[in-house]
Subunit: 409 residues, 2 copies
Amino acid sequence: MPQLFTVITPKEAWLRLEPHLSPVARVETIATADALGRVLAEDIVASSDLPFFARSTMDGYAVRAEDTYGASESLPAYLKVTGEVMMGRPAGISLSPAEAALVHTGGMLPQNADAVVMIENTREVDASTIEVVRPVARGENVLQIGEEVARGEGVLSRGSLLRPQEIGGLLSLGVTKITVFQRVKVALISTGDELVPPEEEPKPGQIRNTNAYTLAGLASKAGAIPLRLGIVKDNHEALTAAAQRGMREADIVVISAGSSVSTRDMTADVINSLGPPGIMVHGVSLKPGKPTILAVVNGKPFFGLPGNPGSAMITFELFVTPCIYKMSGCKQPPRRFLTAKLTRNTPSAPGREDYVPVKLEEKEGQLYAEPVFGKSNVLFNLIRADGLAQVPLDRAGLAAGETVLVILL
Amino acid sequence: MPQLFTVITPKEAWLRLEPHLSPVARVETIATADALGRVLAEDIVASSDLPFFARSTMDGYAVRAEDTYGASESLPAYLKVTGEVMMGRPAGISLSPAEAALVHTGGMLPQNADAVVMIENTREVDASTIEVVRPVARGENVLQIGEEVARGEGVLSRGSLLRPQEIGGLLSLGVTKITVFQRVKVALISTGDELVPPEEEPKPGQIRNTNAYTLAGLASKAGAIPLRLGIVKDNHEALTAAAQRGMREADIVVISAGSSVSTRDMTADVINSLGPPGIMVHGVSLKPGKPTILAVVNGKPFFGLPGNPGSAMITFELFVTPCIYKMSGCKQPPRRFLTAKLTRNTPSAPGREDYVPVKLEEKEGQLYAEPVFGKSNVLFNLIRADGLAQVPLDRAGLAAGETVLVILL
């Protein structure tokens, strides 16, 4: 007999699983320069001011601001140029009243200088004299000591995802090695007596296994290491053995089950036999993806996803991807969604959250989402799509022109 | 004397460079399973139908549709169940009139069957008889031969970026090896007498080189291989030697020049001395990034970007990233922008395109972009930001509530 399952909303499903997820305990120390896409496992505090000397933000003359007060085109301030600040060197100059020094963008301010006059607002009178035709305020065109980052300031915290700018920011402070979370490992098991490996020629009744590869791709994109454990026949022992191997070798186990009721039931039985607490969610008010299973076995998240290629990808994106980020220690995963205006009426059923493949197009600064037609759940629909538009649970569909949330694919 | 340069719009700048860009000639054949993020260098045509046998899309009974016409709860159609289609096997059954066969989702349709009745619309009468209480149309709940992909159909074309779904789609057709474009190599040269490597303690007047690392990260994200050629002193010979090395070893050369006028001029001189046609664009109506140089030297694109960390990243994203995609052979780069509503008035100047770091936030299905305040061009502003909002050229700023285009960072 098919097992009965109670369908809950995608959000409720996630909220049941989430309290069981925590970052992997394994960390490693690596070169900051190699840490793109990794997640910090430590808090980083600035050990020095950035900049640690006052720097000019313009090409011009370093001055004492008060010497320029009241200066104008008709009544310029005359300043004596006492030297030039060389790039990469201490300024080596101290300004007395009515003195200035040539300084380049990024150059160090001389002693007693507190502002920089842009070169455009000066005129050379002779080799050692300039006219300043506009006053500058104290601090103008200067990046002060510690203005970007102050010594002792928390710069990045544990859980920060490292983008190019974070890598640069860490290196600017001399942080060349950092401790990051190790990558999360995701075991991928495909079940179904109809499946053959992609390199085999399927016989009548058989199809090639693709879920192991599409889901491996999604796992990689989320920063995890996919472990493809191959195709498992639809029998209890084989599936149990594969699931136990996944539990040993990985942090997360995903079974993409055959689509028929019987294989789905077997997946549920196997998961519940592996260890407590077992299945948290069996059935989600979601299209596609209703028969999705979310479970926890001995502290590790365990997913039973529908075998259909489209459903498997969509449910992976909705549940496994956020799980990977959570277990990677990542506090703010990269933005995966945007909003767009729907181009056509899109029917749904109230009480169910639908995900509809869409093409995105920008016209005059506005993004539009155009539903992709075709037999639902078919992998090639996702190839034609840029993202998945969400039809909310409480709506019986959306009308053309409405704003929709789109998950990028 | 500073060289004069004529400022043109970012779009004009790109249009001057673009005709000189073509995909790299080097291709390689790799396993499809390892091709995530790569770009196809060949057209792929389906060598077989997908599916190549008619499959059920539901759990139920395969039937001859005409046997169910007129069936209802009160007047069901009685069908004789002649067997069960096993998953992964030829159906091995042929239906005579008034016969049905049990079939699972994904199972092969028996001979003479042309539709599937969902199990929910049947009742078991005895071990070999069912009642059908709703009629099915011919083809209902069946994925026909070639319905997903027809034999001979073009599936993916040269220039397709391979996401998880494309990998799966290729494997579903048995395409286990493919020819892809080799990754584009980008040489990164940092100039400036003030720069020291990140592992060195800067002395007064010095700062750590970070552009080589932030730009390497952006290049990697765009699928290229970054080659960091190190820090070059501000002199003509040293810069020329580094630029020549970049020309030999890479497909694209990027110099992030010192920010002062003199080093910018030197960069321009060096580029023009390397070979024809030389500088295409010197100066873009852009903030930050006005002094950007776009050039072509002996067929290779060559960029002179401002040295300021924020400006270097922004101009790289605007010009070098699209150049990488073009040279990678990629016809449709991944979507890097979205639209959002601005939360505050953001001043600009007409005739100039501004890029303002913003935080993104979603409220009730709508994305909002909140400008990040702070000294412009500073790297840590980009760390606080999720993206860059574009203030268009023809506007003197944008008002709170207006829709802006945001490039994701």
